[in-house]
Symmetry: C2
């Protein structure tokens, strides 16, 4: 039997107009898919209603996945695909399988010979890297740093060393309500000449992308509290 296709469907990063962040072809694909693998039902429904206002939500099947899903759960997500139905993974924000746990679903799809099609959409990490002015020819994404203060300071110093050793841009993120604590930790751990880019609320009317030295950031109190922010370090 012909298998279905697994679409990787980017979602919004915030209150952006859809025509600014999605190719129109995404809408046509979404409107044909009946099975969705999602992180949170409320966000997924709101997203689908916004992109395809005419969608009949009650005709769709949603399966929840998150960092607690076991690989047995996940392999059952693939049943509709094995029976020839298309399915889509939707992330909480941005592109699925980048800075979220979705990649395990894709991995099992490859093992089952299911075609995987990634759709174009907004990725805060990629947009931040483009707009930082930092090296885009070599870079490293670390995800979240440790929350424990001494461990975080140690990690930041290691990360700063990587810039010098490998000439790589260093990228990481934080839960938005801890952004100011992370900024404080960076200004304490890193050298004054190191460059920090803060890319905040990307693709929304509040978008802000600022690159300054650590010395300059020490004098600022940027408006990043509770706002999704990507942190980038370079020299």
């Amino acid at each position: 039997m012909k298998k279905g296709t697994l679409y990787l469907i980017p979602s919004l990063l915030g209150e952006s107009p859809t025509e600014a962040v999605f190719p129109s072809a995404n809408r046509e694909i979404i409107s044909k898919v009946k099975y969705f693998i999602i992180e949170e039902i409320r966000t997924a429904r709101r997203f689908l209603k916004k992109v395809c206002p005419e969608i009949d939500i009650d005709s769709l099947t949603f399966t929840l996945y998150n960092e607690h899903s076991s690989s047995i759960d996940i392999s059952s997500f693939l049943d509709p695909l094995l029976k020839g139905e298309d399915a889509g993974i939707i992330s909480e924000a941005g592109t699925p399988c980048v800075a979220d746990p979705g990649s395990l679903v894709v991995r099992l799809a490859h093992e089952s010979g299911i075609r995987v099609v990634p759709l174009v959409g907004p990725s805060s990490i990629l947009l931040a890297l483009m707009a930082s002015g930092f090296n885009g020819q070599q870079f490293m994404f670390h995800g979240y740093l440790p929350i424990d203060k001494p461990a975080r300071a140690r990690r930041l110093r290691e990360i700063e060393q990587e810039i010098l050793k490998k000439d790589q841009t260093q990228i990481f993120i934080e839960t938005p309500y801890r952004n100011l604590q992370l900024l404080q930790a960076i200004t304490e751990a890193c050298q004054e000449s190191t460059l920090l880019c803060l890319a905040t609320s990307l693709t929304t009317p509040e978008e802000s992308i600022i690159t300054l030295t650590i010395k300059e950031w020490k004098k600022k109190k940027p408006d990043i509290n509770k706002k999704p922010t990507v942190f980038l370090l370079y020299r």
Copy 2:
């Protein structure tokens, strides 16, 4: 005087329909910009004609930049922006300032207090990472590996070690006519159990994304010669 905005304008990765890879808002922004910073005039003209068929190419100013541009050349690119005109950077393929030398222009823009706005579009690196099934929560992009055979083999073994040490997906690219040589080098240098994803001709009708072990790739001869391909390693 109010400064202009520097837009980072993604271009096509190949023969893709524009509605599949660009938000419609990109077209409106492009149609208002008169100054473009580009890598190659022929590609840039063709791209602009495809996205905005009604565009008057002769009314536009193009400035070439590439890895040979000095920072003095580049700072003159910013003159129109300082005079209040908007400008755009267009990459040869995909998103500007990622895997290309454009970031120096953006860096100087930040230093001059010019607003930088990244637009959404196709990035082969990001699409490949999403669709690989590999870890998207930690990853490293290396750009091009050395061409010299012993240096390349050494580098590949180092890269493979990073997967084990840091649990990071490792991503790199090659000039398309050398893709098969690089694949050969990978299968010789890496362990049989390591996973390799080849993501080829992304967003085009020929798109192919295949994840297999090195042992399995040894028996295959994939159709990647002269086709843009992203290489990803993980375990």
